[in-house]
Symmetry: C2
Subunit: 428 residues, 2 copies
Amino acid sequence: MTDSCPHVVILGGGFGGLAAARELADAPVRITLIDRRNHHLFQPLLYQVGTAGLSAPSIAAPLRQILRKQANITVLMDEARAVDTTARCVHLGQGDIGYDYLIVGTGATHAYFGHDDWASRAPGLKTLDDAFAVRRRVLLAFERAEREDDPVRRQAWLNFVIVGAGATGVELAGALAEIAKHTLPREFRRSDPRMANVLLVEAGPRVLPAFDEDLSDKARKQLEKLGVQVRLGTAVSAIDEEGVQLGEQRLQARTVLWAAGVSASPLGVSLGAPLDRAGRVQVQADLSLPGHREVFVIGDLATFTQESGKPVPGVAPAAKQMGRHAALRVRAMIQGSAEAARFRYRDDGSLATIGRMAAVAQFGKLKFSGLLAWWIWLVAHVYFLIGFRNRLVVLMDWAWAYWTYERAARIVTGQDRESAPSTGESSE
Amino acid sequence: MTDSCPHVVILGGGFGGLAAARELADAPVRITLIDRRNHHLFQPLLYQVGTAGLSAPSIAAPLRQILRKQANITVLMDEARAVDTTARCVHLGQGDIGYDYLIVGTGATHAYFGHDDWASRAPGLKTLDDAFAVRRRVLLAFERAEREDDPVRRQAWLNFVIVGAGATGVELAGALAEIAKHTLPREFRRSDPRMANVLLVEAGPRVLPAFDEDLSDKARKQLEKLGVQVRLGTAVSAIDEEGVQLGEQRLQARTVLWAAGVSASPLGVSLGAPLDRAGRVQVQADLSLPGHREVFVIGDLATFTQESGKPVPGVAPAAKQMGRHAALRVRAMIQGSAEAARFRYRDDGSLATIGRMAAVAQFGKLKFSGLLAWWIWLVAHVYFLIGFRNRLVVLMDWAWAYWTYERAARIVTGQDRESAPSTGESSE
């Protein structure tokens, strides 16, 4: 591997970027993978860190460690600020880096639909820091309820609102209900965690809209059985420190979690291609940037319409497939192939967990719900977790939680200016 | 248990407070345990969280969970700001609480000997947040070295200075050397982590002064074998962003960790008793406050001279023994006993780990070093870890790390204003 090899720069060490890097492992290229974090995050289990079921290191691994055996790759921890597609160069936080081929997979975060002031009131769930913020709010809410003598104000600390009933919202709601009904009741003396209300609010007509309607219906019933209140066709019109406004109804709730909306990485803007409303880049049939066959956009940053007319969903398997496709295109172009092979998304099925022994699964016409879907979900998620050790730790944590209802990571650290005035930084 | 039972308030859920609470489990009292954190922390393994060997939930457990089966106790998460020993009342962050008996175990933090400005440059290791700060600095230093082309500036990122060669300093130094020599070398392409210098600086004449001189000497030799440079009889006279001043010598080092000095919890001041130079309360022979037989001070907040003339050391077993003693005194006073039994510290021996298969242990005249001491250390620390699950997870992490040299928790999260300008909060 010499400096004369083509230089492939990959932005983002998520599912897409990592898949691209691995697909190029034995290609005659130099690869630089750039991420502003030092770790790959297994985002499908992030809600478990947010709800104190798993520790952060269980679902994250250093990119360097994952890729250390791949000799043709250099990992840089830095932030990509803009791409200059004319000069074929990426502006980083620290210096610039040139490329022959560029694969951009910097992902997306949540969108507050123009209400950016809601961000501090209703944290979303995209990074480990987000998950720690959610964990802190949830655990501290029960602590605050325990200190509150006024029953109305106490109930406001026990009312939890989750906005958005996609997979993350459903998973959060199910986990919160389990914490309130099963994990905490024996531990408080003054307040009763079982008085908690978990309200899942969705503007659309059903939960889990990515699934068929009958599964959405089953998921809603499973949520209700776990004690979650599901409010469909309801938009949130205001969020403040005391609660939320749902149409005409005002609800006092001190904890609001955000699981709605997608806003693509701002890096997309600098690529100069057409973007959709969420800021996603409209890529060519081979995932390349219009006018730039050497630049590929993958994962949540790309919007791609399949031949069926349906968009490729923003899920981990799609990002991986796009990453591999982009890498194969780079390989082909290096070998002189002019033909731009079309990306075809292979739908391996959809899975969403709801709670203890409750989940839905859909593989084409095959559908499951309840206990069997939950087992499928569990096996699939443990299997795809990166790193043998993480899998073992996660399995053990889950087995333990299953038998004891305890949660492994009920630790409040750090400070949250919003809602925790009484937790200092120094030791006690 | 009725409201007419005597009310025992325990401040601090560390080793001392927890031992006191458990000793009173079947006593005819109402107990309120107050801690500003929601968890008990197994501090002897905190350096492993700081050096990415263990995740935080492995060494911390919610106080409510630990104590949930004890019917006579209420746990409050709040900060004790002052004690009014005349009114028999504690001022909390949120309201006041009266007591019949008070046990104060709010511990100590590190002291910068009048150089409080060093705190931000050289983090210490007392809380989980401290450990995350140390982990972030250490991992980011290797990332910064990788980005630095100038060899002198690169070396400054690879120079680590640890101030203070007590148990924490020695453990940190050994772990850093292992990370540099064994964990990271295969993962960097431009810089060589093996070029790291780990310098352990101690103002006194030997490492681990709590041990006999021959063991101090053996510990120093084991440290040096692991690649740690030990500088004894050397005081740090300045710390700034670029490095440290050691007497006449200036050393460029971007990462300085603090493991020296003790400063007792400021709560001691409000108790109105004589304090020693570190702010520790000089307690009576039965651990009570002079003039207040109903108030006890335990653990690192207390200073107590044994009949042999030696002070009780600030270690976990001493705090536990003091907590139990104070609780037994409360029991006796409730039963009408007037005799104030003297506290007697039972020295169960001292253990300090240095690194892989390197440790020292001392039980009276029995002394061990090297592999055998390391096994004793390992068994003792896993045994005393609270919670069956934590023990299993820690054992598994250690076994994994032992065979692979990988470390389970190499995750950088959050922001550090000092040294990480390029790690943002939002997702990638």
